[in-house]
């Protein structure tokens, strides 16, 4: 009943890449041009909300350990809330710039979940390295939405937010779980 973990990770990587490219496109051409067609503004929140449903499906496949069940449930809820808030901002249901902080909180919580569910050191195995790398990257990248809320005109925050997803995709595509890191280090490899 349990799908191979890397299949789930690569699916998540593909979605993260799509999100990163969507955000990067908007940064490159500017919001005014990107949102000239209204439906484009809905793409990012729609994909995030859809990914939360997929994450619920992964959650119910993650009963092989309590920690994985809890971590995936946290990611699913963080994605749903962040996507919903983004959609509400697009629809002008929410207007305060403070709501832009919600994706930051979602990144922070998701990063913490990555770090908590990895008990080993960075170089213990490839899986441990990636979990630490993803966890800290998400924690640090929570600053981008914060910067965006405080300095909405500076493009660096939105660019950083977009690159976060691209980098997340790279790391998820690299996930081989217990394999050795960089081909030679680590105790966890077979």
């Amino acid at each position: 009943m349990v799908p191979r973990p890397e299949i789930a990770h690569w699916l998540a990587g593909a979605i993260a890449l799509l999100l990163g490219l969507l955000l990067a496109s908007e940064v490159l051409v500017g919001s005014e041009v990107f949102r000239r067609r209204r439906w484009r503004a809905y793409l990012f929140p729609a994909v995030v909300i859809a990914s939360s449903v997929l994450l619920w499906m992964i959650t119910i496949f993650s009963t092989f350990s309590t920690m994985h069940l809890l971590a995936h449930a946290v990611w699913a809820q963080a994605a749903l809330l962040a996507g919903a808030v983004q959609l509400a901002l697009v629809r002008d249901k929410l207007t305060s710039p403070a709501w832009s902080l919600v994706p930051g909180v979602a990144l922070l919580v998701s990063g913490a979940a990555f770090l908590v569910h990895e008990p080993n050191d960075w170089l213990y195995s490839r899986s441990a390295f990636l979990h630490h790398a993803i966890g800290w990257m998400l924690v640090v990248s929570a600053l981008f939405p914060l910067g965006q809320a405080l300095r909405p005109r500076q493009v660096v925050w939105r660019a950083g937010f977009a690159l976060t997803f691209v980098l997340l995709a790279v790391l998820l595509f690299a996930d081989r779980d217990s394999a050795t890191i960089f081909g030679r280090f680590g105790a966890g490899g077979p």
Partner: protein
């Protein structure tokens, strides 16, 4: 130089290598919760990656707790863990407890059962498992409350105050629905893990890497948990979309899905697992649960949303809910009476069994709630119909509190074991 270094790191990470997951028990012999006709000579566990073990990594326990397994060994590069067993007799169920150390440093552990010549007991009845504790009761109560807060306000908004409502009240309905949907999911996860932990019997740190698969896949409550987790995740998304997209009609699929998913609790409780259980008892339990949820959650919606946030709708909402409450109370009483008769065929069971005493306690609280409701129906309703504006909110809050207390009694009753029931066939034979 920097580019080359970056490229090297990326290529190294992407380089093909063994693509294995976290330590997962891929298969076992005997199969989890299987029925064998002949006693096995060994227990064999296959993992998805190499593990290391201690000599007692696999323990096979007889129903009386006697250890039947020998020294554990590994083979096939550490992926297969085996322990010899002896003195296994036909006609009993056996418990296998295992614990290994994975290459990733995690120490997963698990428990499963098998039967020889008989059906295997569920993993919740494994040797060493404890019964429900106050934590299970509290989790079940929280689940009932969350379900009531989800279903009740949805019914009030869709059936009682159907037209437009003030914006603040509408936001309140949306917010309560979404929060309740998330609560149902999170409390459901806690309740599931607590139930599994009673059988796993692991300290908290180890429980985090406990194998929940036998409980998720081989028990009714596990399958119900999986369906409810996924389903209520969709409900939460639909309710959020109903608010953001201004599509109140989306509340209908959310309500229908929620009511349907609530059946998971009935299909995995005593009304589905006792010997004399059938589709009628499961249906009655589901009706009982849904009616109680609408009643308790509806009262909360009236007291905390309609009364303070939509003063112009108080009269119509109260009168509309009063009409609905008659139906709800009727359904609750009829279904509850049928279930009580099914679980306690003798009147003396009410005071001679623990289950019966819990039921008496619940009936006492229900009587208080019904008296309160009757006072609203016969004293407050005529005044509202006459155009008066009595301050009913404190009384509504009180009735809602009593209703939520009824759910607490129901949670304790759900986790208590009813006296053994005769199967329908036996009943028929004795009747003849």
């Amino acid at each position: 130089m920097r580019r080359a270094l970056l490229l090297g790191v990326v290529l190294a990470l992407l380089a093909p290598n063994a693509a294995l997951g976290h330590v997962i028990l891929e298969s076992s012999q005997p199969v989890t919760q299987s029925r064998l006709e002949a006693p096995p000579n060994e227990i064999r566990l296959r993992f998805n990656q190499a593990v290391t073990v201690s000599p007692g990594a696999i323990q096979v326990l007889a129903p009386d707790g006697l250890l039947l397994s020998g020294t554990t060994t590994v083979s096939e590069g550490g992926r297969v863990v085996t322990a010899p067993v002896s003195r296994i007799a036909r006609g009993a169920g056996y418990t296998v407890r295992w614990r290994v150390l994975g290459g990733d440093g995690h120490a997963p552990a698990g428990v499963f059962t098998f039967g020889v010549g008989v059906a295997a007991p569920p993993p919740t009845e494994a040797v060493g498992a404890s019964g429900a504790t106050w934590r299970d009761d509290a989790a079940r109560w929280a689940l009932f409350v969350a379900l009531a807060l989800l279903i009740g306000p949805l019914v009030v908004r869709l059936l009682v105050v159907r037209g437009s409502v003030p914006a603040r009240a509408e936001r309140g309905f949306h917010l309560l629905g979404v929060v309740a949907a998330f609560l149902v999911i999170d409390v459901g996860i806690v309740a599931f893990v607590l139930r599994a932990s009673n059988a796993l019997q692991l300290p908290l740190g180890d429980l985090l890497y406990g194998d929940l698969q036998p409980f998720a896949e081989k028990t009714r409550f596990g399958v119900a948990f999986l369906a409810m987790t996924l389903g209520f995740g969709i409900v939460a998304a639909v309710l959020l979309l109903a608010w953001i997209l201004d599509r109140p009609a989306l509340r209908w699929p959310a309500l229908l899905l929620s009511v349907t998913l609530a059946s998971g609790l009935s299909l995995s409780g005593h009304q589905a697992t006792e010997d004399n259980a059938g589709w009628l008892s499961q249906g009655a339990d589901w009706l009982h649960l849904v009616a109680a949820s609408v009643w308790a959650g509806g009262l909360v919606a009236l007291a905390f949303l309609v009364w303070p946030l939509a003063p112009s709708l108080r009269r119509d909402a109260f009168l509309g809910f009063a009409r609905l409450a008659v139906l709800l109370v009727g359904a609750m009483v009829l279904a509850g009476a049928y279930l009580a008769l099914a679980r306690l065929p003798e009147a003396s069971d009410l005071w001679q069994t623990q289950y019966g005493r819990f039921l008496l306690l619940k009936l006492g609280i229900v009587a208080v709630a019904l008296t309160w409701g009757a006072a609203h129906h016969f004293l407050v309703r005529p005044r509202l119909e006459a155009g008066q504006q009595p301050n009913v909110r404190p009384s509504l809050v009180g009735e809602a509190a009593v209703a939520l207390t009824v759910l607490l009694a129901a949670a304790i009753l759900t986790n208590a074991a009813p006296p053994p029931a005769e199967p329908p066939a036996a009943n028929a034979r004795s009747a003849r």
